[in-house]
Point group: D2
Chain length 135, copies 4
Amino acid sequence: MLHTRELFESMTTKPSLSSEQMATMVEALQDCAEAVLACSAGMLAARDAGHLAEAASRDMDCVDVVTTTRNVLTRGNGPDSSMLSAQLEVCLLACERSNELCGRHAEHHTHCRICSDATRHCADTCRATLDALHR
Amino acid sequence: MLHTRELFESMTTKPSLSSEQMATMVEALQDCAEAVLACSAGMLAARDAGHLAEAASRDMDCVDVVTTTRNVLTRGNGPDSSMLSAQLEVCLLACERSNELCGRHAEHHTHCRICSDATRHCADTCRATLDALHR
Amino acid sequence: MLHTRELFESMTTKPSLSSEQMATMVEALQDCAEAVLACSAGMLAARDAGHLAEAASRDMDCVDVVTTTRNVLTRGNGPDSSMLSAQLEVCLLACERSNELCGRHAEHHTHCRICSDATRHCADTCRATLDALHR
Amino acid sequence: MLHTRELFESMTTKPSLSSEQMATMVEALQDCAEAVLACSAGMLAARDAGHLAEAASRDMDCVDVVTTTRNVLTRGNGPDSSMLSAQLEVCLLACERSNELCGRHAEHHTHCRICSDATRHCADTCRATLDALHR
């Protein structure tokens, strides 16, 4: 398993976040990307794929946005955190939208339940990171 | 060459944008991603790479954000354009930041000048698209 | 419109390809990514989405692979082109697979026909670039 | 933490890999992407960035390839695993190349050592997955 916190401690380019905050946010983003990817694949392979196509489409947006957020966050940001903030805002919206659409199918598909948990956790972590940036 | 406008006219999922607006925005995003990618590679290969590292790093963020914006825009958005708006806002910031950093080297490196033109054009197109969405 | 050839001529890091070969390949990749993205969105929004889910899923793989190929190609490669070759091989497979699946629906959906043309052109250009690299 | 194995067990689209093999491979890819991203950012921020630019550039290729591999693997593949195999082959090359370049700086930069470990582990896991696919 990756020692994410040690990794960030070794870097000289840090945004206004602690290594622990960075590690927590990165892990939430990684888990979210994976859960949403798997869920959209699971929905497209389901018998009721036609019914789930809208949710699958929003999930693909979510994967792209979450992955870009991981990249932007990890690269660090210098003293100006306005771009990181804007990226976290769009990430929050993408997670909330996937969460809303997948949550409806959480009873019928295990991958929708796991996805729904991961997007909620990621949205919450985005909110906490935004708070830390604006403090 | 791709018939981008014909492509969007054939789709049933459109956001609150015309096929022409979609095509103009997509082309600006594609050109921008390519110019910024090439520019960051050119800077890292230059003799004064150490001096250009900050600009190269911001360019990488820009490529990811611009590519995700292309994906989100192309997938279409349904009636709710709040996520597309947020994505265009972060794209605008990323383009402006790359533009500012690369513009400083535009006299010394042709790829910086081309990159600087492409990020300015993409930022302007983002603003026009945001105006169209909010109308 | 981006002056892709001028861009590559200004760079000092070139793989074993001419600026014209680079520009032709990059344009094929950009057009392909856009056509495949739009097509998968179009299929998921269609009334027969359930029937088209497999093709949509392969299209998403194709978009990711084609976009990564654009990035790897544009960054240049130094004297060793083995990674670029391997990337072009997987890109060729991804384009052929999308082409096969979308070609079946080309009569019923305009976006499938445009996508089918773009993936065929991109696959052909990958083959020509692989030939040039191995010469 | 994401229950990756449970996630894959809930999906109906599986390639010729067990849920455990899928989970192991996905985790290696996620850790690798993060370590390589952080390392390239760390190198570009270092005082000797000019010296490290080649390694940083190869790391960026690696991040893109590894992330696309995660996406292709997670989407599942149907009975034909030829594209997944080709994707794993290019991923193996990208990891080996980053590993070779970063390994040289492992003594001087902690992020290079962590990156070097993560790319080696990911390359080994790619080899094991390719073996399982070809069995």
